[in-house]
Structure formats: structure tokens, C-alpha cells
């Protein structure tokens, strides 16, 4: 037993506080938007928009209106547009309260790797390095283990880093962990997951 993608997204959505400006990464983090409920959350898209709306109804797609994943989206009545320098100015300047990002690896010091696998196709970091460096609170939303069952919560990252000591909280299919002094601290186990199972699936030091 563990959380599925939607349960992970739902759990991550509980992290977001009323009035926050939030950046959601590509993949599972995108699903978080479905679970914010009545909370007043404003989504930033780092290509130059605050107040990101849902996908358009078919026929309403606008090539001038896309999100950071290059998908067609819509605007809301609160939306504001701006250029890329301003967009990353607010990111680096700490104006975004929280980013929920996917991760390939996180280590016990909060280092995050999510942009490059050496020897594989090199796609680039996009805005990820800016987000992890600048945003107030960084939540890694990720599978706890890879397809071979190896932990993705490591003592040391093996992949090139996106940022050093940048992750505050990790939400996986198995539970929720905080990066604290000395290692990771279990906040919560996923439904039907025991602390022992979480320990067993985690290479990083749990304190």
C-alpha cells in the first residue's frame, strides 16, 4: 500500500496556505492544482504569468498562452503577464512562497537532482535551478524508489545537482519527510505504510 499519483498530489496540496503564490513543476506537481479546493492560491508560470488557469476548452487554445511545460492554458480574472526577467526576479527574490517540483534524487542534506542524467539526452535545467535557489519553500514531490526498487532519497546524490541544500520537505508515494539538521525526519507515513517500511526504502539517514 502507498499513495498513488493523485493521492501524492492531494497530500502536497495540503502544504499550500491561503494567499500563497506557488510554482508547480511539470509531472505530478501539475496535479496539485486539482486539489487546492477553496484556498486562495495563485499559480505562477515562470514563462511570465501569475494566475494560471486550467487547460482551455477545445477550440479555445491560444498559441500566445502557454505554461512553462509549453502546454496551452487559460487565464483567470486576476492574471498578470510580465517578461522573463521580471518572472525570475520574483523567483530569485523570494516572492514565490512555495515550489512543488519533481525530483530524480534528493539527499539527506536537501540537495536536489532533477535536470540531467549523464550519458542520456541532455535537455537542460530550464527554470529549475532558479526555482530551487530562490523560492521560499521547496517541496520535492517524487517516487520514493526507482523502478529497480532503489531509494531515490540518498546519502549523496549521484546525478548532477539542480541545487545544494534547497529542499525543505519531501513528499513521496510512501510518506512525508523533512530535511532537518543531520538528516531526514519522518513527518507522516502514507496510508498503509509503516515507519519500518519507510526506513527500509530510504538510503538517506533518518533522524
Amino acid at each position: 500500500m502507498a499513495w498513488d499519483r493523485n493521492q501524492m498530489a492531494k497530500r502536497a496540496a495540503t502544504e499550500l496556505k491561503d494567499g500563497w503564490y506557488v510554482n508547480l513543476g511539470i509531472g505530478i506537481p501539475t496535479l496539485v492544482a486539482n486539489y487546492v479546493g477553496d484556498k486562495d492560491i495563485t499559480l505562477q508560470s515562470e514563462n511570465g504569468m501569475l494566475g494560471m488557469g486550467p487547460f482551455p476548452i477545445e477550440g479555445d487554445e491560444d498559441p500566445d498562452l502557454i505554461n512553462a511545460g509549453k502546454q496551452t492554458i487559460t487565464e483567470l480574472n486576476r492574471t498578470a503577464y510580465f517578461d522573463s526577467a521580471t518572472s525570475f526576479g520574483m523567483i530569485r527574490g523570494g516572492k514565490i512562497a512555495c515550489a512543488v517540483l519533481g525530483a530524480m534524487e534528493v539527499n539527506e542534506k536537501g540537495d536536489l537532482a532533477n535536470w540531467m542524467i549523464p550519458g542520456k539526452l541532455v535537455k537542460g535545467m530550464g527554470g529549475a535551478m532558479d526555482l530551487v535557489a530562490g523560492v521560499g519553500r521547496v517541496i520535492a514531490l517524487m517516487d520514493h524508489t526507482n523502478k529497480h526498487g532503489d531509494s531515490k532519497l540518498l546519502r549523496q546524490c549521484t546525478l548532477p545537482l539542480t541545487g545544494k541544500a534547497v529542499v525543505d520537505r519531501i513528499i513521496t508515494n510512501l510518506g512525508v519527510l523533512d530535511v532537518v539538521v543531520g538528516g531526514l525526519k519522518i513527518v507522516e507515513c502514507a496510508d498503509g505504510v509503516t515507519e519500518d517500511e519507510l526506513h527500509a526504502a530510504t538510503e538517506a539517514k533518518i533522524v
Binding site: 514563462n47 498559441p63 498562452l65 522573463s84 535545467m125 532558479d130 535557489a133 530562490g134 548532477p160 545544494k164
Partner: protein, 237 residues
Amino acid sequence: MQKIYPNATSALDGLLTSGMLIAAGGFGLCGIPELLLGAIKDAGTKNLIFASNNAGIDDFGIGILLQTHQVKKMISSYVGENAEFMRQYLSGELELEFNPQGTLAERMRAGGSGIPGFYTKTGVGTVIADGKEHKDFVGSDGNTQTYIMEEGIVADLAIVKAWKADETGNLIFRKTARNFNPVAAMCGKVCVVEVEEIVPVGTFDPDHIHLPGIYVHRIIQGDHEKRIEQRTVREKS
């Protein structure tokens, strides 16, 4: 001062040279200067260096210049949509300098604003910081943090897509097609802009102008394909 040119080819006349650095606006395929890129392809200029957040796709955007082997180097943050790019990069035909997206945007703004270097914490502790100057600053909270220096980009030419221009080059962009276009325009020694509509001077409310005409040297109006890269829709609820 006549800034309006009849078409992309004439607007680039005399501006293209082998080995030059071109800053291009656009994010993905959104807000890219597609007409000017087509004219650069027709001109056949070689060894181009592009500062552009993305490299287009195989048959649109900067991708069309990769197919003709006109690009020597890309300065970009994300190039994942382009198979031909990967082939040329992995075979060593194409140089690639990755910049974090915000660093790239700020480098363009800085270069256009007389700022040759600035400090950022983006990339500290990653390969992006390798070989760059590190400096510690004390924050307003009293804590010391390490930053790296990034340099401003001054491009030989900026190619930009806007929604509308007036005859003096004042520009208005539309929705997320604004993206890198204003900062690309700023950092070009010469800036050529393609728009969907050129309007008479006085049409714009001076408070609605996104980029004043001082940054714009040549303008063309033309029909834009504006291709969508990822068409995502939802059910009518």
C-alpha cells in the same frame, strides 16, 4: 526616422555576418520571431551563435537553422524538444552553453542595461558554478550566503516578435508571448522586430507600452503561423 521595412529579408539587409551573436525572443514556440528566422535561413549566414531560451523543434523556430547547419553554438536553458539538435550536439557539430532560465533572462537584461556582471545564487553548488567567480554576501537577516557572478550578454543582433508596434517602434506584447522578447530586444546592438500589426503613432496609450521604441531599430509586419507545441485541452464542464 523610418523604422518600417517591407519584409524580413529587407529588414535584415546588411546586419548578418558569419559568427555573429543573435539574441532571440520566445519561449518554446510561443512568441518566436518566426519570419526573421526564416529570412536568416534564406540568407544562409553560417556559424551563428544564438542566445535563446529554446532551440525550437525540428521544423520550426531555430530548428530550421539547425537543419541547414547555420548554428555553431546555442546559449539556452532547455533544448529538449529537438532531435536534430541532440544529434548535432552529441556528434560535436554544435556547441551548447546551458544557462539557468532566469540567469539567461537576467544576462540579457543586464547586457542591455549597462551591467556587465551580477551575482545570483542560482546554480551555486552545481556544474553551472564551475569556473565562475564566487562571492559571499551578508543578507538582511545577517546570514552569509554564497553567490556566483554571471555576465551580461550584449548581442550583435536581437530578433524579436511582438504583437503590435507603432510607427516609432513602441511595442506591445500579448499574454505569455512576451517572455524573453523585451530582454532580447534590450541586449541587441541592433534590434529587428516582427509584429502582427503596425499601427499609427498615437494609437497606444503611453501607459500600455511594454517596450519603448528606443530599443527597436527595424520593424516588419507579417502573417504568423504561431504553431502550438503542446495542445492540451479539458472537457467542457
